[in-house]
């Protein structure tokens, strides 16, 4: 019998490679976030880290739930608002520093959220043990023509 489990890596799909790349990229950003930031060019206040988070957000968009998408949108619109409120009287160098500070802070918030999204997204597979604790509750829940909702208030899509 040709026994192979899905963990054996016998067949690798294109989407699996993409997921791995996204993982790698987000961890690269984590690394950037904890080391000295580099400016990309003179004409922009954005650092490599800030731009990287924006790109990672787009890569992860497909796996991000609507509530979290909304929060991320709010963070970026708040950033724009805060940037627009930087006093005009400051000189260019100070303005740039102020913008960098605000965008770095917002990007950190987004990255933190992206990490949670990534770990709970369909990209990550978790091995779970199930346990029958109470016979009556198992029988009561199992013998139902409608799907049991394991995640609380959501409908499950189950495969086997």
């Amino acid at each position: 019998m040709d026994e192979r489990t899905e963990q054996s890596g016998y067949q690798v799909q294109g989407s699996d490679i993409l997921k791995k790349k996204i993982f790698d990229y987000v961890f690269h950003l984590c690394n950037l976030a904890t080391t000295k930031e580099t400016e990309i060019a003179d004409y922009t206040y954005e650092t490599g880290f800030v731009r990287g988070v924006k790109l990672a957000k787009s890569l992860m968009w497909k796996y991000t739930k609507p509530e979290i998408k909304e929060t991320i949108k709010n963070i970026y619109s708040q950033l724009e608002y805060n940037i627009s409120r930087i006093p005009e009287k400051l000189d260019e160098a100070q303005k740039k520093l102020e913008k960098q500070m605000l965008s770095d802070d917002a990007s950190m918030q987004v990255l933190e959220i992206l990490l949670v999204v990534m770990l709970y997204s369909s990209m990550s597979v978790e091995m779970k043990e199930i346990e029958v604790k109470d016979w009556q509750s198992v029988i009561g829940k199992a013998r139902d023509d409608n799907p049991v909702r394991i995640f609380g208030n959501e409908i499950n899509e189950k495969e086997d």
Binding site: P66, I113, S124, E129, P147, V148, E157
Partner: protein, 327 residues
């Protein structure tokens, strides 16, 4: 200002299922396969002796089929006759998703080598007959090597049962998938995930089912039922040993019978001689003539009688072999 995003929000959006809620979902999935999606379910439970295979299979029947417990004695079967009866009962009563556990597969009335071959025929035939009622059939066997290719394809799930303590058994719930492009099958764990507004969430693979001893009413009835079979198995074994003993004695009688025939052939050897003209003229004992007089002998035994008799004759100098005779 945007709303601050707290850990609490993550827990609301990504609630982590407990092992118990996943058990509900898992058994509900099996139940819906039988009762909503109109599939039948064939699962093989295997593992070492006393690992809890049978009780595990009975647990599955108990959870999935409401009619299993009232009919436990007729649904846990050990012989092909009982198996047919269980299917007949399901058909007559039109029980949807009826569970039948084929316990001690390989030690029943069909020998272990032929067991799956025979049972797969019966099960295939019965599935045609009761297929529309979507039965759940659980095979319980000690060794996975009993399972031949046909039966492997028959089983949708192969559950490996093991135990590390006396409170519960562990089951590895493998589904068997066949690959039509390359001739082979592979195993995989059941997968659960959440889908929320088209966004899939964390994938959970079920790699172990912790299943405790069934409630006393189920356990006691099962033990009494299986003990009756095991007692019968003991009586059958005694009978079989007695039969083997009888066969052995018969062989002894038979051997002494051959000696008597040899004695008779030696005494009247002229009645059994033939002449061959190949490579000169030879006189020899003809096994066909021996069989003609002793019709019970097989060809093999007649040759044995010939060999023994010739040996005796040579020893007694009663006949000369490979000697020219005057015809």
């Amino acid at each position: 200002m945007h709303d601050q995003f707290y850990e609490l929000d993550f827990d609301r959006i990504y609630p982590t299922p407990t092992s118990e809620t996943l058990a509900w979902a898992y058994f509900n999935r099996l139940y819906r396969k039988l009762h909503v999606e109109n599939f039948s379910l064939l699962i093989t439970f295997y593992g070492r002796h006393r690992a809890g295979k049978s009780l595990g299979a009975v647990d599955f029947g108990y959870i999935l089929d409401p009619t299993f417990l009232p009919n436990l004695e007729s649904r846990v079967v050990y012989t092909s006759k009982a198996l047919m009866q269980a299917f007949k009962d399901i058909r007559v009563k039109k029980i949807k998703g009826g569970a039948v556990i084929i316990d001690e597969a390989g030690s029943g009335d069909l020998s272990s080598q032929r067991w799956y071959e025979e049972v797969s025929k019966i099960v295939s035939a019965e599935l045609q007959a009761v297929g529309y009622l979507n039965p759940f059939i659980g095979f319980v066997t000690q060794s996975f090597s009993f399972i031949n290719t046909t039966a492997r394809k028959l089983s949708q799930g192969v559950f490996e049962v093991y135990r590390t303590n006396t409170s519960y058994s562990n089951i590895k719930p493998f589904w068997i998938e066949n690959n039509p492009w390359i001739s082979g099958s592979y195993r995989k764990y059941p997968i659960f995930c959440e889908n929320h507004n088209g966004v899939a969430s964390n994938i959970y693979k079920i790699n172990n089912i912790k299943i405790p001893l069934p409630p006393d009413e189920v356990k006691d009835r099962y033990i009494a039922h299986s003990q009756a079979y095991k007692d019968k198995l003991l009586v059958d074994s005694e009978e079989e040993i007695a039969l083997l003993e009888f066969d052995k004695n018969s062989k002894k009688v038979y051997a002494s019978g051959i000696d008597a025939i040899v004695e008779e052939v030696v005494s009247n050897y002229t009645d059994y001689t033939s002449v061959s003209q190949k490579k000169g003229v030879n006189v020899f004992l003809n096994p066909d003539l021996i069989r003609h007089s002793h019709s019970d002998l097989s060809i093999k035994d007649s040759k044995l009688v010939k060999a023994l008799a010739e040996k005796r004759l040579v020893k007694d100098n009663k006949v000369l072999f490979k000697q020219d005779v005057d015809l």
